[in-house]
């Protein structure tokens, strides 16, 4: 019941928020809903057994029995941290936008809540039909979010995002169908249950079919993640989105989630696991280095952050391909860490844009003098993003790189190269935008307001906290990673 509440509260409140008339009512509604989700999620988290890798808080009702569709929810150590991430960041996101003046605040907050409900729905779903519904449902609020409140290129960006990821979802759907019917033919009973279908994959006889199913599912996930070369929707969509939309985009960790939850359990049973591992690792390494290089050349601060995201998402597939529990759990942790870091970075670029009217790095300069509070938070976050020890980014990257090195040293060497570049563009951007002589052309500038300080500051504190003490989330990731790895070992992969 608690999982249903966590999924349904944001969705129901989204509908209610739509009916509100004033900004005060809309943001109040949104805050109530997100805080309620946070409280329920914390309750769930504290009652979660991170020593076992099975699904907990399960709920199951029949939905369309003739097609084997159920309403089946449950969380394991892969889903729990991501639900936690969404639940933590969303109330802060509402606070961050507290004093914003924008048109149609009721729609704005309704879309935020709808995205939260849909995203958590993906993490909680244990039935492929339900999973796919939530998966597609995440598209619609974000499409509207970018289209209504986005930047100058919003129409192009939103349609591109919509079509691109919709195509990927449909290809993924083909993979789901393949899995579904292979099991249906074998047993004579239709069933779309995720754990059941994952366990049935090994009994498919045709090797080609297995590989096709695997690749179709993988395509859906890596486009969503995204990794190079399937990333091109992302820079446009993330950059054109309003700050809240960009934060929602990075909260949507469903691509990486799919890789851990669905691809890795299938991997050992494909006809050519080695090829699949190579694909994952190559995609990861290329993304890491490509994203870093492109980020280095960006003039727009937000676009630089977006490309750093491409680079950082590469760690997710690389770590997954590493196939030791350290690398896999590190990759999972990268998702969690990236969500925290990116949300603050996007918020920071949003306030800079609002205060100065520009995001072009060279046009800024010396902002720290006028915006000291922002400067502190930004420096901390940028350090986390470039992987400074003591912050979450470091934990993730070190685990991925050192774990993956065992099996795939060459790819790690490529990725290591990117670390230097990553440090370079982060520091360079900080130095040019925040420090040095204040650019007088920017006019009078005031520091971030107390709501923004509170929201960004608290998330930054969490980056520090989980950087020093990752075990509250890392433990459950490790349990699940070990489970996956032992399965692989049993299969001789």
């Amino acid at each position: 019941m608690i999982l249903s509440l966590i999924v349904l509260i944001p969705l129901i409140f989204a509908a209610l928020t739509l009916l509100t008339k004033t900004k005060e009512q809309a943001r109040g509604m949104a805050l109530v809903a997100t805080v309620a989700v946070l409280i329920l999620t914390l309750y769930m988290y504290f009652n979660f057994d991170s020593t076992i890798a099975t699904n907990q808080f399960e709920e199951m009702y029949q939905w369309v029995p003739s097609l084997g569709i159920t309403y089946h929810l449950g969380v394991d150590g892969i889903a729990m941290p991501l639900i936690l991430l969404n639940a933590i960041v969303l109330p802060f996101l509402i606070l961050y936008t507290w004093n914003d003046d924008r048109k149609a605040p009721n729609k704005f907050y309704a879309l935020i809540l709808a995205t939260e409900g849909a995203a958590i729905g993906v993490f909680a779903a244990l039935d492929f039909f339900l999973f796919y519904i939530f998966w597609e449902l995440t598209l619609i609020p974000l499409f509207f979010m970018v289209s209504i409140w986005g930047g100058p290129n919003k129409h192009h960006a939103s349609i591109k995002f919509f079509i691109y990821t919709h195509v990927a979802s449909l290809v993924m759907l083909l993979g789901i169908f393949g899995l579904y019917f292979a099991a249906w033919d074998a047993t004579g009973v239709p069933n779309l249950d995720i754990p059941y279908l994952l366990s049935q994959f090994q009994f498919i006889e045709s090797g080609l079919m297995k590989d096709l199913i695997f690749l179709a599912l993988l395509f859906g996930f890596i486009v969503k993640l995204p990794v190079v070369p399937f990333h091109s929707w992302q820079p446009d969509a993330y950059t054109e989105a309003p700050t809240a939309g960009s934060v929602l985009f990075v909260m949507l960790k469903i691509g990486g989630y799919g890789i851990f939850k669905i691809m890795l359990p299938l991997l050992p049973f494909t006809a050519s696991p080695d090829l699949m591992i190579t694909i994952l690792a190559a995609l990861g390494a290329v993304s890491i280095i490509y994203g870093a290089f492109v980020a280095l050349s960006q003039r727009d601060l937000k676009r630089m952050i977006v490309y750093s995201s491409v680079s950082h998402m590469g760690y997710v597939t690389l770590g997954a391909a590493g196939l030791v529990s350290l690398s896999v759990s590190g990759a999972m942790f990268q998702q969690f860490s990236h969500g925290l870091i990116m949300s603050v970075m996007f918020m920071a670029s949003g306030v800079i844009n609002a205060a100065t009217g520009t995001r072009i790095i060279n046009d800024l300069g010396g902002l720290a003098q006028k915006m000291p509070k922002l400067a502190v938070i930004m420096v901390l976050t940028f350090m986390a993003s470039l992987g400074l020890p003591g912050l979450t980014g470091f934990v993730a990257e070190v685990s991925v790189l050192s774990g993956t090195f065992v099996n795939l040293p060459v790819y790690v060497m490529i990725a290591l190269l990117a670390i230097v570049i990553t440090a370079a563009y982060h520091l360079w951007a900080l130095q040019r935008a925040m420090f040095g002589v204040f650019n007088e052309k920017l006019g009078t500038i005031v520091d971030i307001n107390s709501y923004q300080t509170l929201s960004m500051g608290l998330i930054a504190m969490l980056i520090l906290y989980f950087g020093l003490n990752p075990s509250p989330v890392l433990d459950m990731m490790l349990t699940n990673s070990e489970n996956i790895i032992s399965l692989m070992a049993a299969m001789g992969v």
Binding site: P65, S66, I140, I163, L170, F177, D185
Partner: protein, 484 residues
């Protein structure tokens, strides 16, 4: 007497149609609004009678009519579309002195479609087909002073007559070879058809005849002009209703009567399905008239449904049948939403050239919020976004295609489906994101009621597919006895 009871829905409609005609004669123009209410109540009564008789199975009139799960299902589809049509037309016909003809033609067309659904004999099927067609030819040209409407009607009539001739020609060959026009009897006596090349000729003629009605490429040329030129409420009846009539007729003729020639027509349908869905979607992308865009999207949807003829498993057939119902709600809804916009545009400026131009949808989200929201739901449903009828039926239909091993066909269909999202999203973009200075307008109640009914239908099948997919499977079992 028992037989007549089984025809209660059709008789109700016939009585209503005649009553509307008669009452209309005595009413002044100002009071003819009541005719629309009478017609709607008649359709609602027929719908209620059909729903209560679900599960009945009977043969009537020397086995020429069959009441079974399939015919019941399609009767419900036609009645739902007719209901949306009559309700929406209340506003459209306001102040029109020919309202009684309009409504009675709509009702008679529906009776024709319902008889096609029950037909168990090719002659009955043909006559019912023509009853529906003749009524819709007249409806398409109802705006006598509108050049486009006349052109729509003329094209539709000419090509419709040609297809009727081809159909009859094909039927005559079948009769000649098998000595019967009874559909199950043809299947039993198919030996002659299989061995004689005449069988192939008959198949070609029938595919061409039905292809016209279903608007499969290359028999589609009339459809975009007719859908665009006809009054929008009539387009909803044509696209959502009479096209389904072609589909149920084709189900009966090919899958039941001509199953012996399966190999021949299956290949043709495979090619037609792929060409139709791709052509429809590609051309729809470039349209600026919303009705034309919906017409091309309607081709695409017909292409998807035709996949059922290729895959031919019970699950695929039930997918195709379910798709017909979903499409009825989605397409009728989309045309009625367009009708509301056209109505608004014309009431503001009588001389507008293209009242259904995309530009007129600008800012609709603010101007007509209910219409815009309904339209959004319909086009997302047509694109196959989850929790709508469009997704449920695509899920069943496409997945059955994979199950049967036609992966290439499913891939083409899915890519097409993704492409279609582009132009559907364009409508949403115009409605919500492009600004307009125009003021908010009050939304005409009849259109709104029709839209709400269609939205409920689209969402009901999306959220709670079980009863619908069950009915569709029951209906599919009629086509393939021994079933699932």
């Amino acid at each position: 007497m028992m037989d007549l009871m089984l025809l209660a829905p059709e008789l109700t409609l016939a009585v209503t149609g005649l009553a509307v005609l008669l009452i209309g004669l005595f009413l002044p123009v100002g009071s003819k609004k009541i005719l629309g209410f009478i017609a709607s109540i008649g359709v609602l009564a027929a719908l209620a009678l059909t729903v209560t008789s679900l599960g009945t199975e009977a043969m009537m009139f020397n086995d020429t009519l069959s009441i079974d799960a399939l015919s019941q299902f399609f009767k419900i589809v036609f009645l739902v579309v007719a209901l949306l049509f009559t309700i929406a037309s209340i506003k459209y016909m306001e102040g029109n002195k020919n309202a009684e003809e309009f409504f009675s033609l709509g009702l008679f067309a529906t009776i024709g479609m319902m008889f096609v659904a029950s037909a168990n004999d090719l002659m009955v099927l043909f006559v019912a087909f023509e009853l529906a067609s003749l009524a819709t030819y007249a409806l398409a040209g109802f705006e006598k002073t509108n050049q486009k409407s006349l052109e729509a009607s003329m094209k539709y009539f000419m090509i419709g007559s040609l297809s009727a001739a081809l159909l009859l020609f094909g039927i005559s060959f079948i009769y000649g070879m098998t000595g019967t026009t009874n559909i199950p009897a043809i299947a039993e006596n198919a030996a002659g058809l299989v061995t004689n090349p005449i069988g192939i000729v008959a198949v070609i003629l029938l595919i061409a005849g039905f292809g016209f009605k279903i608007a499969l490429v290359p028999f589609h040329m009339w459809a975009p002009d007719t859908y665009q030129g006809s009054p929008s409420v009539v387009s909803s009846l044509l696209a959502a209703g009479s096209k389904k009539m072609g589909i149920v007729a084709a189900f009966k003729v090919f899958i039941v009567a001509l199953i012996a020639l399966q190999v021949e027509w299956q290949t043709v349908f495979a090619i037609l399905a792929v060409v139709t869905m791709t052509y429809g979607n590609v051309v729809a992308v470039t349209q600026t008239s919303v009705k034309r865009m919906l017409a091309y999207s309607s081709l695409a949807q017909a292409g998807y449904i035709s996949m059922a003829f290729v895959v031919l498993t019970p699950l695929a057939l039930s997918g195709g049948i379910l798709y017909a119902l979903s499409h009825g709600f989605m397409k009728a809804g989309a045309f009625i939403a367009t009708a509301a916009v056209v109505y608004m545009v014309l009431s503001e400026n009588k001389d507008t050239e293209d009242p259904d131009h995309l530009d007129n949808f600008r800012g609709l989200g603010r101007r007509m919020p209910i219409t815009a929201l309904s339209m959004t739901i319909f086009v997302f449903a047509l694109a196959g976004i989850p929790l709508t009828a469009g997704f449920t039926s695509k899920f069943v239909l496409f997945s059955s295609t994979i199950q049967a091993g036609f992966v290439w066909l499913a891939v083409i269909a899915i890519l097409n489906s993704a492409l279609s999202l582009y132009y559907y999203a364009k409508i949403v973009k115009y409605m919500y994101f492009l600004p307009t200075d125009a003021d908010k307008v009050s939304e005409p109640l009849p259109y709104t009621i029709a839209l709400v009914i269609a939205v409920i239908g689209v969402l009901a099948i999306g959220f709670w597919p079980e009863p619908f997919s069950y009915w569709a499977m029951e209906a599919a079992k009629v086509l393939i006895p021994g079933g699932i």
